[in-house]
Subunit: 437 residues, 4 copies
């Protein structure tokens, strides 16, 4: 037996048996340049600014998602009734679901015409990538099928739900992994038991949680809620993200004005993104990773443009803007508009350009989105057996007051960010004053 062992900090050992065709395929996919690139893209972007342990990559996460998806498949398709190629495709989709992420994903996505999901699709379907070649070499239909699974368009639908739904291998892994790596304990839930308590309802083409899984699902959603509130939406994390966004905007603005960005080759993929060109090929895109952005920041610290230089130094040296929670600025009522104008004036008066020195963010989440007959894929919902009759399914929110409370309290945190070093104390008070009552 030729086995490949991957040691993982969350799942201990992840094993592929190269004598199994599906496993050999996964191993070949891991070995492609496109997948190896994920080693150079951090999983939770700037979150290491607040939680120094959060330095892990999308490579580690993707390995974990593949591992969990395989365990779920082994469990839910024990008797191998699923179409074998779909079964392979689900495993590939789990491994590859994040392969289209760019550097500092959620930040840089703004500058692309397409979201990372679209790039993932391109990478799988374009015949110039090694991933495409490896998939097609296994079966010519496989690239399209993997793309369908990731997009939630394969039939039957339930296997794809293992990769993308409100109870999927992706979330299972990132909660456990981000929790372990950052050292917080909020993301811990009972993965082993949850896996045991899922089943397929073939009539409905859904994944169903056994009734006795209600409390484990509650726990899982509580963990998700805590991770969003305490880690992903942490004020320091959102400040760093807002600053990186402003910095890239400054670079893009300079490109718009002068046609080029200091220290970045115009013809390079990164240069073209900043210049707003939407003609990146897949191969261009795949040259991007965190080190390209960090390399530019490093160079910009010696740039002649004051804003580029200052924001780069701030980010590299973690001189982050202070944050201030504000009222919902989306409402754009008169008072809010006046406050924003007032704050902008204060920043301008301090000699700073408010476009880059007075930043805003909105962090919003619904811990559990209930079934919506108009818009949702049914599979996104978490279905659970009714008490006493396992054949009648209900939305999990109708079985639990705790979960119902989650669906009824989508929340949003609006923040403003601005520099507030010593000397800027006056600025701080003025801005806070502008937003206070």
């Amino acid at each position: 037996m030729r086995e490949k062992l991957f040691r993982d900090p969350v799942h201990d050992l992840i094993v592929l048996d190269l004598d199994e065709p599906a496993d050999a395929l996964l191993f070949r996919l891991i070995d492609t340049p496109e997948f190896q690139r994920l080693r150079r893209i951090r999983q939770i972007g700037m979150a290491y600014m607040a939680f120094h342990g959060g330095e892990h990559s999308r490579f580690s996460h993707s390995m974990g998602v593949m591992h969990i998806a395989r365990r779920l498949l082994d469990r839910l398709d024990r008797d191998r009734r699923l179409d074998p190629l779909l079964r392979v495709a689900v495993q590939c989709a789990a491994l590859l679901h994040d392969v289209g992420h760019g550097p500092f994903s959620h930040v840089i996505e703004k500058f692309f015409q397409d979201h990372h999901e679209v790039w993932t699709g391109h990478i799988v379907l374009t015949d110039t990538t090694e991933i495409h070649a490896v998939l097609a070499d296994f079966d010519p239909r496989l690239p399209q099928l993997v793309s369908d699974v990731i997009a939630g368009e394969a039939k039957p639908a339930w296997p794809s739900l293992l990769v993308s739904s409100q109870l999927d291998a992706d979330r299972f892994d990132y909660l456990l992994r981000d929790s372990r790596m950052t050292g917080v304990k909020y993301g811990v839930f009972d993965l082993e038991r949850l896996i045991m308590l899922l089943r397929v309802s073939e009539a409905d083409d859904r994944i169903v949680v056994a009734r006795k899984g209600l409390l484990p699902v509650e726990k899982y959603l509580q963990s998700r809620y805590q991770m969003y509130r305490q880690v992903y939406f942490h004020k320091t994390v959102t400040s760093a993200e807002a600053m990186l966004m402003a910095l890239l905007q400054r670079a893009a603005d300079l490109a718009g004005e002068s046609g080029e960005v200091p220290c970045v080759e115009s013809a390079s993929p990164f240069g073209r993104i900043l210049a707003g060109r939407q003609d990146l090929s897949v191969s261009d895109y795949l040259q991007l990773d965190d080190s390209v952005v960090l390399g530019a920041l490093n160079a910009w610290t010696r740039s002649g443009d004051g804003v580029l230089r200052d924001l780069s130094l701030r980010l590299l040296n973690r001189r982050l803007f202070k944050s201030w929670e504000v009222a919902n600025f989306e409402e754009q009522d008169l008072e809010i508009r006046l406050r924003i104008e007032s704050a902008e004036k204060i920043v301008s008066d301090a000699g700073l350009d408010p476009r880059y020195y007075l930043l805003y963010s909105k962090s919003a989440d619904t811990p559990y989105r209930p079934y919506n007959p108009r818009s949702d894929r049914a599979g996104g919902t978490i279905w659970i057996e009714s008490e006493g009759d396992s054949s009648v399914l209900m939305d999990v929110k109708d079985a639990s007051p705790t979960i119902k409370a989650f669906t009824e309290s989508p929340y949003a945190i609006w923040r403003t960010f601005f520099p507030a070093e010593s000397g800027g104390q006056r600025l701080r008070q003025a801005i806070q004053g502008a937003f206070s009552d």
Copy 2:
């Protein structure tokens, strides 16, 4: 009370109380650009090629060393008899001991005139760094004292041993941290109990382990041994390191021939290092981090030089050379020389330049180095109380057959590396043949 909490995956919470002058100083040091740079230098270099979880930085490790050193000080200097400034200096030294590391430290060190310890000294002592300014602002004598502690030259010597000896906060943290992050379990030992079992012997100016600490020390050394054998000296890790070394050597050779390195600005710190210039200022040096090297690799994948391009692609895409354990090539006896010549000819015949395609490494360690009256600082040794008389100290190797076995078996692994892809199978056999009997 103004406290700063750092969440750590190994130590849970690391706390600084800003109302304490020493803590406030440490917090200011963490906030310097020089220390923040450590976020961009990985702790165990290329080891993530074999253990994908090993992606943590020297920043995280340094925080852990500071934390453990503070706990040791609290314990060993409970009654605060130590000179207060020395006490502060030890904490600063623990935090800063790795601040002089360059990118991929042990690899790139070869190209410098000085080791990272020397750069650490420069960074602390040169008056252009913020670290120097922050230290000097606390007390003008502090920069020199911190440097002395790191160099093991402060008196009394025992506090410095907490930062550097065979039983120090540095090793305590890296064994636990590298173990946790890679997901192996080899590095676990009983830190809490070891801390309880240390004491200071003021007469000897040494740290002493209580007799009942013998088994915990055995366990600690066993853990260290396992981590070296299984992680730091893993064949995949050493292969990646050897390849990075060969790649940088190629760049340096090109610089030597043509005066410049493709895609690297000659005037940049990295360009000057590759060109062999030994005139880097501290400020130049501090512009280096992993992203500079990774950025160059990224650019070199599009370089005109075949070797640069090939080795960069291999490293980024993890197409590593195969390794082959060989006999001790240091002995340089006739037979070994003949074998090496024979292997080089095979590589040359395959159209590859043996300088970059036939690589060697030696991984050697002595799990415990016993006391050597001629060369050692006494403090490097682990001293333990004699059975029955705690005032008589002995080298721990004389108290334990297990540890004695470690001192008597320093070991070394010699390896050779070469490309062995499909098609290169013949090459592989030929090289292995050259080294086999």
Copy 3:
């Protein structure tokens, strides 16, 4: 320094420094026969019938409560402004708070005139116990003060809240410990951060959570909720408890009829309890532990009384009654009464005595009880700082929709239990039929 180290599966090392008078006192208390007795009383009673790992004792738990209480005190009374004797008393109270527990506490309590808290008071205050002697030897006022702290009657009140409130060392330890031992993960919360986020409000004589502690408190209450639902109220656990209760009731009924209980000496403390005599001395009471009850069960398996024999064999061999969730039988409306009568008739017709073979339990909890100005000690409430003004305190339920949902959903599970082995299938259907609609 003379230190005593206790290795603990939850807290790693618990350390007492015998050169500190308070620590030496605690060590002497641990060494008393009354405290050592807790090694022979399991922490979560019959819960090991459902979670085989739950075999730990109240001794372990009490050590953990002492440890956490000391950490809280070190934190909240850093500058040692608290009356030194009260400070000692709080630590003693934390250690001793469970010393009055009898075997299988919540079950056997029914047969006593007093709850375990009262016995704890007796043990501390009665001058025949070693605990009393050790306390009084330290300071003659100490026994009364310890008793006051446990009863929540000492002034100021806040130190006592560390031992008994809705956010106390007792709950902190049992959630973590029961979770760890049973192997479930539901009880994990962020103890380290919670400890950092508490402060004393001297004006109000309360413990206050800093505003940024809101999410950690939510997590803690979620953990508590999960442990109750999944462990303490597990149907198997409640079945075993109900059966033990019925078995002891049978023994008591026999004592009432014949004046003696088979296999139990009438004059022994256990015999006298079963005979309903309320004249147990503290010294009598302290002869009771789990092994006395288990020893009786062992003997009763050879008893002439069929019910004693059968129920003992069932409990020892884990042939537990099946449980059936039923409607609220407390309401005692006509329908419920008719159903109970009908079920009793079925059991009688099967030749079984419904007093021992048709059992009921109610498991009820309110995950968080909000402040009630009429009945509560204010300290039982969890108080948190208002957003923006740390001097204004609010009940934590008013700061969190999640916690508010907990206060609004006190829940209760009513169950009935009866034998349902092979052969008893008909009985099962009949009973369930009686309770079904």
Copy 4:
């Protein structure tokens, strides 16, 4: 699917699928009175006197051994070539291997004619036990086959080695479990990887470790060594065991003199053991558990015999004898004999009976026993592949200097124990004086 989930603190979930005949059989075995009895026998006897967390039972351990053995079988007999009944028998043997343990096993064994292994055989083979009935109901040949596997007499031999050898499921579980429960970290090793690295050599009928398993085996043996030295042979543990032995000896001596033991029914199994009768039936034996012995101790605290009363109080209240490491008293050379006589005289002079108040113990272990062609079953040895030729097997000690050092240093700790309370200080000095040089 009808699955039974057991939550385990070491292995998380242990799952039996009742639709599989082998699993249904195991579930029926767990449900027998004989197996449930193991809940009332602690796994590491008196060790909780030194490590308060070590309160787990042989029930938990046996569940873990079954679980690991099943994982090993799944791995090593993947293609199901093993005789199906032998495969079932190995799983049963793993579950039942400890079912013959008596209370405080290693202590009380001395009073039986047979070791616990023999009783295990009786319980499996005697047709009055439920275990026998359940096994025979599955297949009439099964009881004998299970007994053969436990005794190492089944053919082929390799499956039995999973249950009993120097690398077996028993040791794998107890190292991890005892380590977890006591809270020490010494027993951690890499179970997951070891399982991957085993294979069957059918030609030799042996279990073989792949060459790359050398370091994991070293780690495993180091862990075993640490657990013996630090936990199982801890001085407090051996003191409590020696005292329990002396106490039972006192009871037996009284039975010999007067024909009966205070507070213990003569006709009860425990009474008959103490009276030296060797005619216990299996059914008698199975009435014994820890609570019988603890119940006797409880009663003896009120006994008229001073020695019984005193030793019982000491054990229950943890007033343990002090220990003193002495020279090898097995050598029985003149000097040792004189010292023992001298110490006995001191104890006698103090008014104590040296038979019960001057105790001895020898704790000896060989961390790894190498292959011995004369006496050993080959399978007890750990065989590993040779470097470079996986078909040539070698004793693991010949592949590792570290392990070789273990085989060459079997060690023994001789201790003497005696009371040394305040007032007995003179006694202590006198006894230590007698044994000192």
